[in-house]
Subunit: 339 residues, 2 copies
Amino acid sequence: MDKHVSIKDIALKLGVAPSTVSRALNGNSGVGKALREKIKAMALKLNYKPNPFAVGLVKQTPHIIGIIIPDIVTHFYSSIISGIGDTARANGYSVVITTSYEQYELEKHCIDDLNNIRVEGIIACLSQETSDYKHFENVVNQGVPLVFFDRVCLTDRCSSVVADNERSAYQAVQHLIANGYKRIAYIGGNEHLNIVDQRRRGYVRALADNCLPVYSDLMVDNLPMTYKSGRKAVRQLLALRRRPDAILAINDILAFGAMSEIKSRNLQIPTDIGLVGYSDELHATFVEPALTTVTHHTYEIGSVACDLLLRRINDATVKPKSVVIPTFLKIRASTAKRR
Amino acid sequence: MDKHVSIKDIALKLGVAPSTVSRALNGNSGVGKALREKIKAMALKLNYKPNPFAVGLVKQTPHIIGIIIPDIVTHFYSSIISGIGDTARANGYSVVITTSYEQYELEKHCIDDLNNIRVEGIIACLSQETSDYKHFENVVNQGVPLVFFDRVCLTDRCSSVVADNERSAYQAVQHLIANGYKRIAYIGGNEHLNIVDQRRRGYVRALADNCLPVYSDLMVDNLPMTYKSGRKAVRQLLALRRRPDAILAINDILAFGAMSEIKSRNLQIPTDIGLVGYSDELHATFVEPALTTVTHHTYEIGSVACDLLLRRINDATVKPKSVVIPTFLKIRASTAKRR
DNA sequence: TTGAAAGCGTTACCAC
DNA sequence: GTGGTAACGCTTTCAA
């Protein structure tokens, strides 16, 4: 195929000035209609594509937005990326993805990288480790639009897209109680994260509203949200003198770990122990045996976050806004009625 | 925080020429040791970061590689991306991800996009629809290094990273036979893809080597590799007068669809029907009830593909090479011995 | 309506 | 060893 065609090539071919070509192609006023058409036709014919580096250099804003996610291999996140990407593309933006690998230090690097690229805005989800938000404050102070999703912070200054965390946990526990479970355990995560705190509150409130005691030894809290932690938490819970008869795990990975550990002990779900996890559409479909899960509309989370960011980019005066994307409880076999 | 610091700012501050600063920072020869240190210190202090657009404009090669994948939400692919990304970063390259959504037309767009960005090389996996390779030939003809993985083409001109497809299918069928299954069905996919063809050959050869007949009605072939197809294929197989007693599904998604359909009919796995799928590490861990799967080292596929590409980028004379990443058969409950 | 020229931040090639 | 200068491809004044 051809070498890259520049604006100069078109100008030369047509005997006009490069600046005229630029104006014509960018739809700016001040080019005669006939000439404009001629230029456009030639650009098409020569398959002209603007050099993004030249454009990026000369413009403040090369229409790129950055994403910071904890990881890319979890379907929850990749599906959100998908939602962001589609929305961004539809609005003429491209997307750069960076991964914090759930680490605070790497999250700071991500910000630096995106800053270098001069992204017009950032969509981020906090790493598990992050409990200090200075690096994000700096971003905001620089005037770079910033939107958080799922695990959020600085909500007074940044828009955010979150799940209805407290309600979802409340509803899950309510469901367990309605199905005859009485000693409901809770497997949480890093306490400084909003999602953990809120889900925990939902759990506690549901117990209280049903006049059930809240036993602190049934709450395994402040642990990294990993597969291993899920298994470990279950080991701990099953070592109790009075074992729980159900477990709410507040995160996909924890839930999978919990499920695995329960089975490895030859305990039956839901007979011996009921289990509710958190998950997204895909896993709600695949994972077996039929795990009741709080399910997220991940793609929508992504597209809404991107919408909020673009709105903020186009109008710096818009007020921060928190959008709640409702979850729904997908009831399956793992919490079947007792007796 | 500060506005972006340019090389000029440093030069001004130190009373030297911009070109000198550039040379010092890039480790090029021709700068006095003392001055070089002074410049470096100032760059650090001012938190100087080169403007990637300026660099990209002036250099032929802004150290970016492009990825074209069928989708990002399948763990198989996102894990490969992860492997590519880490390897790229470790070598000073950044990565741009494009998604074909399994569509031929969009795949062509991906190539255009990457071309616009002037990527130094491309790592690609063919979309399901792709059976014509002109668009990739163009890339090669332009001299842009290209490496394929999993679903490959143009292997005489491009390096590729593939799984041991025939062997894996052979081994899976062998395993089924050893466990007492006799009427083993096959659920395939788009025939023009190398992976489909090879896995199919493995299936047939295993039957033949064990003196078992190859029934064409037990082979559901040339279908899109979707969840729905998996279900449909099973419906078709179970409608046969002589039903299969085991199924080999040659792709993750097909396998999940198959599993789901089998269960919805209240058939027991492995008692009524044995099932082997293809999957990757994550799903081999999560998916239940214990599905025997051919498992891929996805992260490694990505990192090896990236290695091959970088080698090719740095030396245009390297010969195309096909690296086979072995799979392994993860034997679980879904193929337990009969009787 | 069009063209010329400056400039975005960087590198590379020449002089000195 | 160091400084000037052109060049990368494009947009955007400013003149004409």
